[in-house]
Amino acid sequence: MMRLPWFKYCAPKSVAEAAHILAAEGRDAMLIAGGTDLLPNMKRRQQTPATLVSLREVPGLKDVVNGRGLTLGAGLTLNQVVNLPAVKDAYLALHQAAGQVASPHLRNMGTLGGNLCLDTRCLYYNQNEDWRRAIDFCMKCEGETCWVATSSKRCMAVSSTDTAPALIALGANVRLVSAAGEREIAVNDLYQNDGAEYLTRQPDEILTAVSLPDLAGWKSTYWKLRRRGSFDFPILGVAAAVRTAPDGTVLDARIVLGAVSSRPILTEAGGLLQGGKLSDEAIAAAGKKATSAAKPLDNTDLDLYWRKDVVSAFVGYALREIRGDDMSATRLRIMRQL
């Protein structure tokens, strides 16, 4: 079996204390919550932090505040998020996205904040140290070259979080706290299109909470594509949120793609829908627009051209579901769950 490297373990009792440790330890320290992403990576020596700062004993990170909108502590496990009625009722896309991350065991450990900060993935990166040494490492970790696109100036690893596309579609913000202060930014602004530096979060910042706006009048959904009905990372995620007038005219729409780039992509397809009805033609046009935004590469499961091809179908599934079509049979067939 593969074993963890040595590290120092800190278990602060408050956000302030955790922020203080992070500030003092600098880039050698990393935060750990559920550990479902970080610990396997550490075993493969993709990350070898000298210090792990655990958030497990920090109070308040599991708080749920239900006011105007909903604020979720970043330390809630994915299953806790799935089981919150407030999430299921008003933010269905998040409920569905959190419920499809990995497998039940991992959802019992993995947290909402952890899934948002999930490391980007690549066939040339998610390998053990010896394997990576055999290819002289890669741009994301210890190497010079991106083996997916050898002329690329940046790392092309894939954003594989399920909850981020959903939260971007839902217009959520995240709170980032450091020893120097705190700030709140849109989830969309948490990411940048670089597989190595995929977060705008600074190393000394702690993602403490996710706040969702009041979305009365909106409907949302998340569709995940993967080879098997459980356990696999997404090879495509489509999150959609739409607000319609009583006559069905689209007032607002956001369509977000996951796993087809180094960051979740808020597409321009939503804008196309504004002012019209969710007709088959409008849905097809939105699918086409979203497809043009997808940039899958040959570094994850299944053929990359196919992964681009199916974007349109998935956007269609999502929008037809929001329109009120009964998509349960398709959902069951594609995602093996409702």
């Binding site: 998610n126 394997w131 080879r227």
Partner: protein, 768 residues
């Protein structure tokens, strides 16, 4: 009592065989107490790790281990220099044949490394961290050579050559040049040219399959302790501890009696644990370090350097008359053997058409070396690959002729007395009964939804017997301890053996405690492979039980002072023979056992057999699929596996075997494959990227057990573990063809491939 090779089937009323008691190993497994390979430890043990080749093909110019040996905590370093070279010498290992010249080179590279993951050196150190650090200090100077991964590419004249001295066996005259074609086999019967000339319709197709791994959950793990007097003890997760002992003795030039192998609980094998990997290295490291050495593979090592089964390329040609009679059948199978010769192409060739009663057949099998790990047996080795091709072609032929697929098979079905093209005539078999049971199943007639498709395919496997031993000790309180020499490869054979012994002795099932003996407690047992566990192992257990009963009767005859023939054994008691003049008070097993010391000593039964007369098994599978036309994703909606098992000793575990085989077949058909990059490096050596099916991808798999007793087993057992993996590949391809009107010739049927075919068909249709 004298038993030459076994006992014949006798129909009789049974009390225990056919029921479903809990398995003797069950509680330990669900409580986590069961001890698998990695759970065994000894005081003072070292951890052994292997340095593996990072290249697909390279000549080893030099190996410098001095820096590693000098690292504090490192107690031994070994490489090719620590093992004797071996001459060509063949031996049986499961269903495949091994050659010690190659085994020693696969265990530790000598002149060249031949695949990514090939062992080059090994170290033993006081901790795993030190052992890993030591591996990094070993300097290997490689001359990188061009490599070849694909079986057809490997057969081209300009292909990189793995073995410079490999001249194709089986062709006359011997080829002038060496090649990657290690061996060519041919099986023929009748006149295929005349057969095709008599055909009204011909179907000719080519098929390919990808290598897939056995995917057992427990990685290989062993612990070796070599003592100063030259004796070695080995604990390992294996399907054949006696064969491992023999191979280690040969490779390490030791006497067989000086090695004792204790098999641990095994977390799956499926043929992948028929072969030694780390075992001789662990003994050699222990010999050099004077400490016990434990070696546990990582999952990545399992993928890179053990298993898998062959990728294959199969050409099939079938001819049939208008009324559905097959007049001729030919096939050419080319199998990847991996780095060394010895793929499953031989059994695959023999299985290809042996579901049908054919006059004119020719099958050619090519065993091809490529820069991949040496293949191992995998559940009915090779047969699923051959059946994927042949059963797809059969389906296409049936459709062309307008005959229902089961009817077409029934017209041509093999039956008792069918002459096979590879040798024997088939004895009593249940293929027709299996097909008829499938046809009678409600699934066969259930209405299909729109866009759904149903497929049928069938499978045949020989099943085997071979050397088997058992000992049954009658304890003082009338319970019995059964020592068996076949491994319970997790299918529940301990339960089945104990059930047969309890049935024979006439005592409750839980009074028989089965135990798998180490290599010092019993005579030689062949590997538990070829579905022989419950057939051959069961035979030995029954023979041992009857041997013990003879002795029990003899004791009672002496105690009661009656002739032996006046004593019968019935329901756990010695009773007077009906109508005998010499009546006496019956004695229970416990009463006899309690007096054993005073009446001649402990009582035990033994069996040392070479079991013959294995009964071939046949399966017929029905599957419904739905294809998502927008993504190409295939969903299995319903699955029914029908199989003749001879006799199900423990029906629940037989059903489990059928279901497990189907699941592995579904993975092979839809998802699983080894992915290599351009440099011949395995890109998906882990369960996250090598995708075996998970529960959410599978329907409940319905099973129908057909029981056409094997006449050569006292309870009619045939064996059941391998047949169920044979049919799924073709059954699913046939179902997809019925759903889409598109036939797939290459596995896996992954969504991109399916969607592309759907799009191409739509484009062709719109043009037309």
């Amino acid at each position: 009592m004298i038993v030459a090779s076994g006992l014949k089937y006798q129909a009789r009323e049974l009390k225990i065989v056919g029921t479903r008691p809990l398995r003797p190993d069950g509680v330990d497994k669900v409580t986590g107490r069961a001890r698998y390979g990695a759970d065994i430890s000894l005081p003072g043990q070292l951890i052994g790790k292997v340095l593996r080749s990072p290249h697909a093909h390279a000549r080893i110019k030099s190996i410098d281990t001095s820096a590693a040996a000098a690292l504090p905590g490192v107690k031994a370093v070994i490489s090719r220099d620590d093992f004797a070279d071996m001459a060509e010498e063949y031996a049986a290992a499961g269903e495949l044949t091994i050659n010690f010249r190659d085994v020693t080179r696969n265990m530790m590279a000598r002149e060249k490394v031949l695949y990514d993951g090939h062992p080059v050196a090994a170290v033993a150190a006081t901790s795993e961290a030190i052992a890993r650090a030591a591996l990094k200090l070993i300097k290997v100077d490689y001359e990188i050579l061009p490599h070849v991964i694909d079986v057809i590419a490997a057969l081209r004249p300009d292909a990189p050559l793995l073995h410079e001295e490999q001249y194709t066996e089986g062709v006359n005259p011997r080829p002038a040049r060496p090649s990657n074609l290690a061996k060519r086999l041919e099986f023929a019967r009748g006149n295929v040219e005349a057969g095709f000339a008599a055909a009204d319709t011909i179907v000719e197709r080519e098929f390919t399959t990808k290598p897939v791994h056995q995917g057992y959950i427990e990685p290989q793990a062993c612990l070796a302790s070599y003592s100063e007097d030259g004796q070695a003890e080995l604990w390992t997760s294996t399907q054949g501890h006696f064969v491992f002992r023999a191979q280690c003795a040969k490779l390490l030039q030791m006497e067989i009696s000086k090695i004792r192998v204790t098999p641990t609980e095994i977390g799956g094998g499926f043929g992948g644990k028929n072969n030694i990997y780390n075992e001789p290295l662990a003994i050699a490291l222990s010999r050099k370090s004077h400490r016990p050495v434990k070696m546990v593979m990582t999952r990545e090592e399992v993928f890179r350097a053990t298993g898998p089964t062959s990728g294959g390329h199969v050409k099939v040609r079938l001819g049939a008359t208008r009324d559905g009679r097959i007049t001729a059948a030919t096939a050419e199978l080319s199998f990847q053997a991996g780095a060394f010769p010895g793929s499953s192409v031989a059994p695959a060739s023999m299985c290809a058409f042996t579901r049908y009663d054919l006059e004119n057949v020719r099958v050619i099998g090519n065993d091809v070396t490529v820069n991949r790990p040496k293949v191992a047996a995998y559940r009915a080795p090779g047969a699923p690959i051959a059946a994927f091709a042949v059963e797809s072609a059969i389906d296409e032929m049936a459709k062309k002729l307008g005959i229902a697929p089961i009817e077409f098979r029934l017209i041509n079905a093999a039956r008792e007395g069918t002459q096979t093209y590879y040798g024997p005539k088939l004895g009593k078999i249940g293929y027709i009964e299996t097909l008829e049971a499938a046809r009678a199943h409600p699934h066969y007639r259930a209405p299909l939804g729109p866009g759904h498709g149903r497929g049928i395919a069938t499978g045949f496997w020989f099943n085997i017997g071979n050397e088997t031993t058992a000992a049954l000790n009658i304890n003082e309180d009338g319970t019995a301890t059964l020592i068996m020499g076949t491994i319970d490869v997790a299918g529940g054979s301990r339960a089945a053996m104990a059930m047969m012994v309890a049935e024979e002795l006439g005592i409750p099932f839980d009074r028989v405690r089965p135990h798998i003996g180490d290599t010092s407690s019993l005579g030689f047992n062949f590997i538990t492979a070829g579905s022989r566990g419950t057939f051959a192992g069961g035979m030995a257990c029954v023979v041992a039980a009857r041997d013990a009963i003879e002795k029990l009767r003899d004791r009672v005859a002496r105690i009661r002072e009656v002739p032996l023939e006046a004593v019968l054994w019935k329901d756990g008691h010695a009773v007077p023979a009906e109508g005998s003049a010499r009546q006496f008070a019956p004695m229970s097993l416990a009463e006899i056992a309690g007096q054993a010391g005073k009446t001649g000593g402990p009582i035990a039964g033994h069996a040392e057999l070479n079991v013959q007369g294995a009964g071939p098994g046949f399966g017929a599978h029905i599957v419904d699929v739905e294809v998502d036309r927008q993504t190409g994703s295939i969903k299995i909606l319903r699955y029914t596996a029908v199989q003749d098992v001879g006799r199900a000793i423990h029906p629940a575990y037989v059903e489990g075997q059928l279901q497990g085989g189907v699941v592995q077949g579904i993975g092979w058909a839809l998802n699983e494959e080894y992915v290599y990059d351009a440099d011949g490096i395995l890109a998906n050596p882990g369960f996250l990227d090598y995708r075996i099916p998970v529960a959410s991808d599978l329907p409940f798999i319905d099973t129908v057990i057909v029981e056409v007793a094997n006449p050569n087993h006292p309870y009619g057992v045939r064996g059941c573990g391998e047949v169920p993996i044979i049919a799924p590949l073709a059954a699913i391809a046939n179902a997809v063809e019925n759903a889409l009107g598109i036939r797939f010739y290459d596995l896996p049927m992954a969504p991109p491939k399916v969607l592309q075919a759907i799009d191409e068909a739509a484009a062709a249709a719109s043009k037309a």
